[in-house]
């Protein structure tokens, strides 16, 4: 498995070097610097030299590198590196060179296990919660152990002094039991006066539209985030308008309609009216009983305390596109490009999208631009080669137009403009592109308390691209 974890800054200085095996020699840091950081030709996240493999991810301005010496499980290596990024972000807010330099000890301890204050950036919270927890090692002999920030929350203890916890044998064994137990993500003694659960359904809608207006690809990556503030050991059941569950009688459903692909034809309305969604695939938090989902598609789980990502899903059928964009771009000779971009909101007039940003690419040799919009503001950003058109509030069914003109400088070397796609970002509340709805969330607990549940829906732009 992993022989070592290294962290570099962009200059190639080795900030963190932690070897887990004796075959991870210090000179490997130089090799990585020479072969990857200072080599502009490198285009792969994986480099094998001799028997040593460097797998790296770049985050902010640092390189996180895993060194392996055998044919290691690459999925595990990258999952771990990303987990490290996530942990870094949750401790330092921003996980960059500065954070690393200010927290050397903390990072070494992260890798090796250590009591750590839970809210280092928020002392107020820390004192109110007495927020210290013991962090078990996240790697042993290069094998990832406990890395789940959810798992870490259970280590919050009531004592204020960190060393006191760990130095006390009974508390210690409680920690060890939890670190190795079956329900490792939850303590048993959680109490809330008011039992509440918040469910956020967040969808990223991806679109790729060709220059002729045909939808090449439209799909939805959804994510259900839950904040559970529930006492005891609650057993939750979660119901969606999942078509496989609702029409469990007709098993032929998904395969027969799959042929239709992403067509946005008339069947959309009827399907949505029937109120069911075909989920192409689901992935769950480790608390969900996968066996049960596999057998009868019931999502049943004992939630961790606080916020966690319950599931992710993918839907490709009947995707409701919130915005329709019609770009007309004309290159006039070699000196001018004319744009006319119309955008129409395709959702109910009761809803409105916020932070709608349309990025309209301009040729690299653009000298100046002029823009006119019927709503919002447009600005030319030369460093991005974009005209950025921002509309703060975009209500349903409305349509806005931008007219712009880019004047080009003449170039000696005339190369055709590659016309990158126009892209959109937005967020739209109380709307799901897939049509997904939460039907119920039931909480069963032996104390039989009543609980309040809240659901919120949001659709954002994933990669929403329109070619022209």
């Amino acid at each position: 498995m992993l022989s070592g974890i290294l962290i570099f800054n962009q200059k190639g200085e080795n900030l963190i070097f932690r070897a887990f095996r004796s075959d991870c020699r210090p000179r490997l840091a130089d090799i990585f610097r020479i072969q990857v950081i200072s080599n502009p030709q490198v285009r792969s996240p994986i480099l094998t030299l001799g028997s040593t493999t460097f797998s790296h991810v770049k985050h902010e301005n640092i390189y996180l590198v895993a060194v392996t010496k055998s044919n290691a499980n690459a999925a595990l290596v990258f999952e771990f590196l990303y987990r490290l990024v996530m942990l870094g972000k949750s401790y330092f807010g921003k996980f960059d060179e500065e954070a690393v330099k200010n927290n050397f000890v903390l990072i070494y301890e992260l890798l090796d296990g250590k009591p750590i204050p839970l809210y280092p950036n928020n002392p107020a919270k820390a004192t109110s919660n007495n927020g210290f927890f013991h962090f078990p090692e996240i790697l042993d002999f290069g094998y990832p152990q406990n890395t789940d920030p959810d798992t870490l929350k259970m280590y919050i203890t009531t004592e204020g002094v960190k060393s006191a916890i760990a130095n006390n044998p009974t508390d210690s064994s409680r920690i060890t039991q939890q670190a190795t137990g079956a329900l490792s993500w939850r303590r048993s003694d959680i109490k809330y006066r008011k039992n509440e659960a918040f469910v956020d359904v967040i969808e990223d809608v991806n679109l790729l539209m060709s220059a002729t207006g045909t939808v090449l690809r439209a799909d939805v990556n959804g994510q259900i985030v839950m904040r559970a503030y529930l006492s005891g050991t609650p057993e939750c059941k979660f119901g969606l308008n999942d078509r496989l569950l609702l029409d469990s009688g007709e098993s032929s459903g998904p395969s027969s309609s799959r042929g239709g692909g992403n067509g946005l034809g008339t069947s959309k309305a009827t399907r949505a009216a029937a109120g069911s969604v075909t989920l192409e695939d689901c992935q769950f938090h480790q608390c969900v009983k996968l066996g049960r989902f596999d057998a009868d598609r019931i999502i049943s789980f004992v939630p961790p305390d606080g916020e966690f990502e319950l599931m992710r899903y993918r839907a490709t059928e009947n995707v409701n596109l919130p915005f329709k964009v019609h770009p007309i771009v004309r290159e006039i000779g070699t000196t001018k490009v004319e744009y006319s971009v119309a955008i129409k909101a395709n959702y109910s007039s009761k809803l409105f999208a916020t932070n709608v940003v349309i990025r309209i690419p301009t040729p690299l040799n653009t000298a100046k631009t002029t823009e006119r919009t019927s709503q919002g503001r447009a600005k030319y950003e030369p460093e991005q080669n974009n005209i950025v058109w921002k509309i703060a509030r975009f209500s349903g069914q409305s349509e806005f137009v931008l007219n712009a003109e880019a004047t080009l400088t003449s170039m000696t070397h005339q190369k055709a403009w590659s016309r990158p796609p126009l892209s959109l970002s937005f967020s739209l509340l109380m709307f799901t592109s897939s049509g997904l709805l939460v039907r119920y969330l039931k909480v069963f607990e032996k104390n039989n308390y009543s609980s309040v549940k809240w659901v919120r829906y949001m659709t954002r732009a994933g990669s929403y691209e329109i070619r022209f």
Binding site: E13, A166, E280
Partner: protein
């Protein structure tokens, strides 16, 4: 809190001063405080600074070793941990000082507090010093039966660590037996740790075998749900050691593992894929296989919404799985379309998959998409897109016209690298469909002046030579190139030689002045043995019997295919047993990349299903030479780029000329260099088989010589030519196809 950090690159002059000052300062700080310092806060701060300086200051901190050990016994777990960190880091440099810490660690292993016991055990087993290793054995046996699962878990990993330090010592003890017994532990985390440890030991041993029977495998699957995501991965990896004896058992296990495919962690997903694909080898019944394949498909596609590195891995594995179980990837090809912002390694792999999945039904959509890619900025990617269009023309005969039209549209944009790439693929199209599309020759020749890359020049020269009788000014065009004959690369010179001979044979009047001149250059004025030998060959051929010469030079050429360079069954089988590992990124026989990796094979059992006839044993020999080459190649700084060339049977043809070779060498074996007699002999055979350009030579190697590559793949040898400026691309291991 801000910690002082030593300057990164102190200048040479001030450096030693700086270092001593820093060390002395920290030592003073560490020893300050005295009795007043009740919580040892001064010591803690000093230790933090020392740890912070460990990596950044070139080991200056080792001078503080004795002082740090002095702090180790203080009753604070926090201090202890920092001291241990220091110890692990520097014990190898100063083993004699490290020894002073040994008694403290041994004491700690008997501490009341399970966290302290585990910490001490973990620390001591990281120290690569003989006395430390020896001191662990007895306490370890005790701790393996500790009543705390956390300690037992740590002890399980400790055995693998000891095995790394000293194989013999572990093999001679009963530790591995004890570790095996720990599999009965009631705690799932301990069990998964034991398995990880056992698999780790297995991977580094020649003698230890790992087998799991059905009852154990079934038990392991049942505890999967109770393990952490990493624990699940370790258990799934260990399940590869289970050899099903019965198809029903294999099916049952596969179905019980299938729910794991919905896990959030891609390591769990891909390792589950690996186990299920493995078990499918032992499952009979089309229906079961189909249903399992259906389950594998959506999770693989879902991985495409993960970070790019994971996407890349999923895509590489998709290429693999597509060859083994095509039914898994029966979904819409559009999921593999590139996003504008995908990293290049993702784009290129998607392109390969798109090529593999294109059929005559979806070629319209694919061509439109490829055309789009051909206008992007990244030159390397654009070239691959253009090449893919050409290869599709060869792969799908009924759509060839459509592909050619797309190519010609691109050529009209006059972007130099697109024109060059298109020229090369059009040459291949002519080769594949003789007498069908020659009407576009004039279109191609229109851009002849834009070509400056050897490969493109060689391609256009081939076209001129092959169709010398249809191109009115073919002699003029050749003459233009011949004017700079001596400045061209060998590849172009070879093409020129052959083309001139072809011209002479088809239009003797026009060629009769050129041929003697070119033959003279090739035989007398060149240092390149390939060129000279080919020159002599033509010379003799033409002077002995012009009729035969015509038959040989203008003869019927064997057909070419665009089938992707399919992995041979043996490599495919091995890689499928390693889904999700690093080797699947390279898609090469595992031994070529990871020499130390322990081989995995499908083990025979009554339940094993064989879909293809076993022809593996013969291949083993053919794969040895590349492996041998690897050994020397991998040490060079260019690393992977060299790996890729070794498997190519025509290496000697394109290899740069060995310098200062004495001229009058009659023996082609010697000429091709001492590296590989067989290859050289084959290459020589290829010349004398008389089929013009080196592309055809490679074909003959494949078909005639009975070499493993019985199929000639269109782009196989172009790859080499592009490597110098695409070293990065090579490093992504993307050489499989395009």
């Amino acid at each position: 809190m801000f910690l002082a950090v030593a300057p990164f690159t102190p200048t040479n002059g001030s450096r030693s001063l700086n270092r001593q000052g820093k060390v002395a300062e920290l030592r003073l700080e560490l020893n300050s405080g005295g009795k007043k310092d009740k919580n040892y806060s001064a010591k803690k701060i000093a230790l933090k600074k020392i740890v912070a300086n460990m990596t950044m200051s070139n080991n200056d901190m080792v001078a503080l070793f004795p002082d740090v050990i002095g702090c180790m016994n203080l009753p604070s777990l926090e201090i202890k941990k920092m001291c241990f960190l220091f110890l692990v880091n520097y014990s190898r440099m100063k083993p004699e000082v490290a020894l002073k810490a040994l008694p403290i660690l041994v004491d700690d292993m008997a501490d009341n507090n399970p966290l302290v016991r585990a910490l001490a055990l973990r620390t001591i087993s990281y120290v690569h010093v003989r006395e430390f290793v020896e001191a662990i054995f007895q306490p370890l046996k005790r701790l393996m039966q500790d009543n705390d699962p956390y300690v037992r878990k740590t002890a399980a990993f400790c055995v693998a660590k000891l095995y790394e330090h000293d194989k013999k010592m572990v093999e001679n003890s009963d530790l591995i037996d004890r570790l095996n017994r720990m599999l009965k532990d009631e705690n799932p985390t301990v069990v998964s740790s034991v398995l990880a440890s056992l698999v780790d030991i297995w991977g580094r041993s020649e003698s230890i075998s790992l087998t799991i029977d059905y009852v154990s495998a079934s038990k392991l699957v049942s505890i999967l749900a109770d393990c952490s995501e990493w624990g699940q991965t370790y258990i799934l990896e260990a399940l590869m050691a289970y050899v099903p004896q019965d198809a029903a058992e294999a099916l049952l296990l596969a179905e019980r593992i299938a729910p794991r495919l919905s896990h959030q962690n891609s390591a769990v997903v891909l390792t589950s894929c690996r186990v299920i694909l493995y078990l499918m080898n032992y499952i009979s019944g089309e229906k079961h296989i189909t249903s399992l394949c259906k389950k594998l498909s959506p999770p693989l596609v879902t991985l495409l919404s993960k970070p790019p590195e994971v996407q890349y891995l999923a895509l590489r594995n998709a290429i693999l799985i597509l060859q083994k179980r095509p039914e898994v990837l029966r979904n819409d090809i559009r999921v593999f379309f590139c996003n504008y912002n995908d990293p290049i390694y993702v784009k290129v792999t998607k392109l390969e998959l798109m090529f593999m999945l294109t059929t005559k039904d979806n070629i319209g959509v694919v061509l439109a998409e490829l055309r789009e890619y051909a206008t992007e900025i990244d030159v390397h990617f654009v070239r691959k897109a253009v090449r893919a269009i050409g290869k599709l023309a060869i792969k799908i005969e009924s759509s060839a016209k459509q592909c050619i039209d797309t190519l010609l549209e691109l050529v009209d944009a006059k972007i130099p690298y697109i024109v060059q790439e298109a020229t090369v693929v059009i040459r291949n199209i002519f080769r594949k469909y003789p007498n069908q599309y020659e009407s576009i020759i004039s279109h191609v020749l229109r851009n002849i002046d834009d070509l400056d890359e050897p490969e493109a020049k060689a391609a256009v020269i081939w076209i001129i030579g092959q169709y010398a009788d249809r191109i009115d000014n073919s002699d003029g065009l050749l003459q233009d190139y011949l004017a700079t004959f001596h400045d061209e690369t060998v590849e172009v010179q070879l093409a020129l030689l052959t083309a001139t001979v072809k011209l002479f044979i088809q239009r003797p009047t026009k060629g009769q002045q050129l041929v003697p001149q070119v033959l003279k250059w090739c035989t007398e004025e060149t240092d390149d043995p390939d060129l000279r030998d080919r020159g002599y060959m033509y010379w003799r051929l033409l002077s002995t019997d012009p009729a035969t010469a015509k038959q040989v030079v203008m003869g019927q050429k064997p057909p070419i295919t665009a089938e992707s360079e399919k992995l041979d069954p043996r490599t495919l089988e091995e890689l499928c047993l390693n889904v999700g590992t690093l080797a699947t990124v390279y898609l090469k026989p595992i031994h070529q990349v990871f020499r130390a990796a322990r081989p995995r094979r499908l083990l025979p059992s009554p339940a094993l299903q064989r879909s293809h006839p076993e022809d593996g044993t013969g291949n083993m020999l053919d794969y040895n030479p590349p492996t041998a080459n690897m050994a020397s190649a991998s040490t060079s700084s260019s690393g992977l780029a060299t790996i890729t060339t070794t498997g190519d049977p025509i290496t000697p043809v394109n290899a740069p000329p060995p310098p200062n070779l004495p001229l009058p060498v009659a023996n082609p074996v010697g000429a091709a260099g001492p590296s590989n007699m067989n290859e050289a002999a084959d290459a020589a055979d290829a010349y004398f088989s008389g089929i013009g350009s080196q592309q055809m030579a490679s074909l003959d190697l494949g078909g005639g010589g009975g070499a493993p590559q019985s199929q000639y793949v269109v782009t196989q040898n172009q790859q080499q030519v592009y490597q110098p400026h695409l070293a990065g691309g090579a490093a992504t291991g993307e050489l499989l196809l395009l």
